[in-house]
């Protein structure tokens, strides 16, 4: 038998450490902004198939 643990995002966590939303949000923003721009461009291009 082995025991592993779910992450501290789990609702069952007894003592979840404090999450710092500002640094977390900023690092995600740096990668999500260009990614969303690229995905939007591709979606717009894809629309040509349905015209």
């Amino acid at each position: 038998m082995t025991t592993v643990h779910r992450g501290h995002d789990s609702a069952q966590s007894p003592t979840p450490p404090t999450r710092h939303w500002l640094p977390l949000g900023l690092v995600w923003l740096v990668v999500l902004l260009p990614a969303m721009w690229g995905i939007t461009q591709t979606v717009l291009k894809s629309m040509a198939l349905f015209r």
Partner: protein, 453 residues
């Protein structure tokens, strides 16, 4: 340079592990540019002639070697530097990848400016290819260590970035070339320099924000009981490549990628020639865009699903469903149903992406996390092989068909049956691997249970 040492990237005990995936995404969003290299094909073939190619200009087929070289070097460098990466940690490896990838653009720009093909090949193909290889495997083992409970989802998130990278690079490169275009230059060299600077910044962001968990770190929270294998099984890269399981996975990755990569490269021509008069150039570009989105989403969806249904079931689905879909595509083409044709390819391309993204978690299930980056690196030689094999196979079969009087609208039929056959090989390898590991893993959901055969 102690800042780059492994010890300096060890996270404090209460570090939020959700801050790590963006570091991995930054690297993969940058190196994913490789799949958008084709936007440079036409401008690079008219560097001397301007509006049209002239004597001395590079041919499209010659330019194609740059991308092929980059993909081959990717696999070789991932295999070569995998153990080094495990030793020095992800930060130093990511900085090295950033320097190589950006230098590839700078040297390539010099090659374009002076019209020296070899310089472009050495720059983007070799130097950039090394950056691709090290960059691709750098974040994978780190994420596997941070997310032992969701390894498929974690690596899928990073490898999804590789698909997204092309979506950023393609419109960005077109916009930059339009900005730098002049009467005497298509603006490719200047675009290469700007891309080099941008990607260097993005990759360094990833390198300096990445953290590795302490050796004794475990995620906080509710305990999950997992039966079966011991919690830590560590197989070295040297030992892993001696196991049949490694080579079965190699065959599975190679066949899955060969089938997908061959179709991706020919998608635009294929849909236009299958539905002549109904699908034009613009609509075909839309089809390529949809396939890219399918590839991207499949990387995350299938790898996340594999955490629940198990890696074996996931790959069996890829090969069984893929075989059936490839075999049915000629009928879809003959029936004249564009919708059916497009839907079949959408599902196939999600599985192509899913195959890439799920393989690190499969390796971790079988060989443990200690040298998973190095083992993953060696497995990526399957990608290099597929990168050459896939397009060559599709081109050769198509040319053969056309030379024997087959109509263009039917020329891809045989190719689809060949792809279907390839996936049967993958299915057999998958079944063999299933038989090999059936006695050592327990339930599909016990993703932590693993033992090298």
């Amino acid at each position: 340079m102690s800042l780059l040492d492994r010890a300096h990237s060890v996270a404090p005990p209460d570090y939020d592990r959700w801050r790590v995936p963006p570091s991995a995404l930054a690297i993969h969003l940058a190196i994913g540019q490789a799949y958008a290299f084709s936007v440079f094909n036409l401008p690079l073939s008219r560097l001397l002639g301007g509006a049209a190619a002239t004597t001395g200009d590079w041919s499209i087929s010659r330019i194609g070697w740059i991308f092929s070289t980059a993909i081959v070097v990717l696999g070789l460098s991932a295999a070569l530097f995998g153990r080094w990466l495990e030793r020095v940690g992800p930060r130093r490896a990511m900085v090295t990848a950033a320097c190589c990838f950006a230098s590839g653009f700078f040297v390539g720009a010099a090659g374009i400016a002076t019209h020296q093909f070899w310089l472009l090949l050495v720059g983007y193909g070799v130097l950039g290819g090394v950056g691709l290889g090290i960059g691709y495997i750098s974040p994978v083992s780190t994420l596997l260590k941070w997310f032992p409970d969701r390894p498929g989802m974690a690596t899928g998130l990073a490898i999804m970035g590789f698909g997204g990278g092309a979506m950023i690079a393609s419109p960005l490169s077109v916009a930059l070339m339009a900005r730098f275009k002049s009467a005497t230059s298509p603006g490719v060299a200047e675009t290469f320099v700007v891309l080099g600077v941008l990607y260097l910044a993005l990759m360094l962001f990833g390198a300096f924000t990445v953290r590795i968990p302490a050796a004794d770190w475990q995620p906080h929270g509710a305990a999950v009981r997992v039966t079966g294998a011991p919690s830590v099984v560590s197989v070295s890269a040297t030992d892993a490549v001696r196991t049949p399981a490694f080579w079965l996975l190699w065959i599975m990755l190679c066949t899955n990628v060969t089938a997908g990569i061959g179709v991706l490269g020919q998608a635009s021509a294929m849909i236009q020639e299958t539905f002549p008069g109904r699908i034009g150039v613009e609509a075909a570009a839309g089809f390529v865009g949809i396939l890219s989105l399918a590839n991207l989403s499949g990387r995350f969806l299938w790898s996340s699903l594999s955490d629940h249904i198990g890696r074996r079931a996931t790959y069996l689905t890829f090969f069984a469903l893929g075989t059936a879909l490839y075999a049915s595509i000629p009928s879809a083409g003959r029936s004249g149903s564009v919708t059916l044709f497009v839907l079949s390819f959408v599902v196939l391309l999600t599985m192509y992406g899913g195959g890439f993204a799920t393989i690190p978690a499969y390796l971790r299930d079988l060989f443990g996390t200690q040298e998973v980056g190095a083992i993953h690196g060696r497995l990526l030689t399957a990608w290099s092989t597929a990168g050459v094999l896939g397009p060559a196979l599709v081109n050769y079969v198509r040319e053969y068909q056309l030379a024997h009087g087959v109509a263009k609208s039917d020329a891809y039929g045989v190719t689809m049956y060949v792809m279907s056959g390839l996936l049967i090989v993958g299915l057999l390898a998958s079944l063999r691997l299933r038989a090999l590991t059936a006695t050592s893993t327990t339930s599909p959901s016990s993703s932590h249970a693993r033992r090298a055969p």
